[in-house]
């Protein structure tokens, strides 16, 4: 009898928790047909009085500091009206924190989330965020969707509803040693063939003991003095590796896209990366490390760095490489480094940066040749907020961040998602824009993963394929067979869940 009672108790407890499901997952209802708690002045404008908003942001470190500055400026501008309090979380923490909060502790949920736009679909499916458009209409703040980079807007759009406002986009970029290029009469490449030409020429110069390089190294060379590159081993001008985040997050996808491949299929359900176009693009990357007789490059552009990461940093600094991949948010640090080490000879003018548009395209006349796989941040409105005043205040904040933080945020490597901001005088007249931001391209060049419920699988299996393609241990397997295997596994999991 007792046992039965205990079993019933446990079952009841579990079922009651399951019952919570119905309430936990319901979207908060906001009646937009009337003004609710909104207060308007005699001109019909919304009055904001001490509206407090909580924002969770995925930024950390220097990015967080810059974002704090921008938000402080907003708070000063709207002093007494709207105040935004931001909490920063790493990308590893924010997901579990948000899931726990939205399931068990809704009272402490934020009003806004600043996270990667690709997450919007998942959040929308969980009913954690609102379609933002009705609230922009209510607050009469214009959300001109035509003005946003289409790919970034698509990433937050599901079934016609827009689940966030894109703020920025970013990707990996190239850094190059201008001093080494000039000293060896090599030109700054603008497409894949020019890049290969420069790298092949550098490799041949080095083989003949004729390549001038400079940079501090463990053998006691200083940063300024020129020396001839050793011909003891092959000179590779552009190190990459399958263990490098830049490669498996951005470079691999970009290789596929610039050769006509796509990330997901037109229905946004299955991966789109198993195609001849993607195979062609990934062949470019494989040839980068393991050239064959049919490759465009005669010499390897990179040594086989295997599972190592950040493989470009050291060779780039000591002159053993001319190019490297880098996150744009780190470019300022590199400029400072070169200002210090080459202070007596041009400082940071010895390096420059370019976006990776056309750098992996076999045919740069194609419209997709300049596309870059990117990632973007978006501001999303959390569905736990029911006060119309707060929701309208959120639109004021979103609008401010999208339109008023352009150049400051771009200096941290985040290109504005709004085209008019990227073309504005304020943005373009900034000295930093002319120095390096202009080389990172326009928002329209960036392609993000379209909204798909199976983003994680589509992304993970592509990365898996890419790592195999670039690994020495899989060198003898064809790209097609590797991609096919990963594609089939990915489809099998998607079908299992469907």
């Amino acid at each position: 009898m007792k046992r039965k009672a205990y079993s019933l108790f446990v079952l009841a407890a579990v079922l009651s928790l399951m019952g919570c499901n119905n309430t936990n997952n319901e979207i908060s209802s906001v009646n937009l047909s009337d003004d609710g708690d909104l207060v308007r002045d005699e001109n019909g404008n919304i009055v904001y009085e001490n509206v407090k908003l909580k924002l969770w942001s995925v930024t950390t470190g220097d990015d967080a500091a810059v974002q704090d500055t921008i938000i402080n400026r907003f708070n000063q501008l709207y002093n007494g009206m709207i105040n935004v309090e931001v909490t920063h979380h790493s990308r590893y923490d924010i997901e579990s924190l948000l899931a726990n909060t939205m399931n068990f502790d809704k009272d402490n949920a934020p009003n806004l989330i600043f996270n990667h736009g690709s997450k919007a679909v998942e959040y929308a499916n969980n009913k954690w965020i609102y379609d933002v458009t009705p609230f922009f209409e209510k607050s009469e703040i214009q959300f001109d969707k035509e003005d946003f980079a289409s790919s970034l807007l698509d990433a937050v759009t599901l079934d016609g509803a827009t689940y966030g406002m894109p703020i920025d986009c970013h990707s990996v970029m190239m850094e190059m040693r201008l001093d080494i290029l000039e000293k060896n009469n090599l030109k700054v490449p603008t497409n894949y063939y020019e890049l290969v030409e420069v790298c092949d020429e550098a490799a041949e110069l080095a083989q003949n003991n004729n390549l001038w390089i400079r940079g501090e190294n463990s053998q006691g060379y200083d940063a300024i003095t020129w020396r001839k590159a050793s011909n003891a081993e092959e000179y590779t001008a552009f190190p990459i590796s399958f263990g490098d985040m830049w490669v498996h997050e951005f470079f691999g996808y970009t290789a596929a896209i610039q050769n006509g491949g796509s990330l997901v299929n037109p229905e946004n359900q299955y991966p789109g990366w198993y195609s001849q176009e993607s195979v062609n693009g990934l062949q470019v990357l494989k040839d980068w490390i393991f050239p064959t007789e049919t490759s465009v490059n005669k010499n390897p552009l990179s040594k086989d760095y295997g599972s190592s990461y950040d493989v470009g940093d050291e060779p780039f600094r000591n002159g053993s490489a001319i190019f490297k991949l880098q996150g744009p948010w780190s470019y300022q640090n590199d400029l400072n480094d070169f200002d210090r080490t080459l202070a007596k000879d041009g400082g940071s003018d010895n390096i420059t940066t370019r976006n990776i548009g056309k750098m992996l395209a076999l045919d740069d006349s194609k419209p997709y040749a300049s596309k870059i796989k990117g990632e973007g941040h978006a501001l999303m409105m959390v569905s736990t907020t029911t006060s119309l005043t707060k929701l309208c205040a959120e639109t004021v904040f979103m609008d401010y961040i999208a339109y008023s933080s352009g150049i400051e945020w771009a200096k941290r490597g985040h290109i504005p998602a709004v085209n008019s901001v990227a073309q504005s005088e304020d943005y373009r007249n900034d000295p930093e824009y002319d120095k390096y931001i202009k080389y990172w391209g326009a928002p329209e060049d960036y392609v993000v993963v379209p909204p798909t419920k199976f983003y994680t699988h589509i992304d993970n299996y592509f990365k898996g394929a890419l790592q195999k393609i670039l690994a020495a241990s899989f060198k003898d397997q064809s790209i097609d067979s590797i991609l096919k295997q990963e594609y089939e596994d990915c489809i099998a999991y998607i079908n299992l869940y469907s």
Binding site: E122, K303, L470, A472, L496
Partner: protein, 324 residues
Amino acid sequence: MKQTTTLIEYATKKEHWKNNINKAGIVGFFLGPYGICFALFFIFPLVFGIIMSLCSFDGSSIYPSQFVGFDNFTKLFTNPILARDFWKSVWVTIRFDLIIVPLSILIPLGLALLISMKPPGYKFFRSCIYLPGIFPLTATGLILLKMFDYRNGFINAFFNVSIDWFGQTNTAWFMIGLFCLWCGMGGNFIILCAGLENVDKTLFEAASVDGCNKIDKFFHITLPAIKPQLFICLFTTFIGYMNLYGQLLILASNTPDQSEMKSAVFRIQDMLIGNSKGYGYAAAMGICLGLIIIVIAVVQLVVTKERKGGSKHEEKFMAWKKSR
């Protein structure tokens, strides 16, 4: 007829009742916190896990959406991709366990034996051996990643070799093993040290008088004396490494052949990524893994069970006596 109760009976009953209440209170006081935690963090997750394994999820909520009976378990055996990945990962884990568990006991045992000889500075060495276990797994993992880096790691430079330790399946597993030994050795070492400390010294003296050499003493006195500690080490190490996950995540995330690098828990964790649609399968996998662990642990228990002589030795002795 009216029943009467004497004062003594009444007082005895009352005292008895009061004592029972007191006893229950004391038991509740001491066991209550543990009982609550046990129910909250073991019984509830277990029951909820079993319920999850019998349900499907709609992808938008962490709570089950539909009761599906044993469908999730059936799919673990019949769905080609699920069956292939999960059972392969279980086999990968067991294979790793077969190698790492003996090493995780034998190496600390060797070190504990050395320390038990109390050489000069043994306290310092004892601390040093235990030290790696107190560092966070992530920090130690990152240090190993740097030390064994393919191109810039000082291990390759020092030995003048060119091995991509984390880029190939075999070497990556070697590194995982090294990582596990490095971080996990301290716990077993301390348990075995304590066991060795408690071995009755008079047995060694008696054995010396009987002419035993050091090897005989080890096999016939030391090992039987520390058997309980060895069993504790065996079970905790085995169960610990059947749940291998963190070490793989830190060191082997960039190993290209991921299918060879995923432990059972890693596969379960994979099912939790994205949305909740995989939760039912993950729960079913978890229960299967739990059952496998229980079965292997029981087999271990049976195999290593101390065989009590009972009357067997007496009967043998009597038979011997009779034969004379």
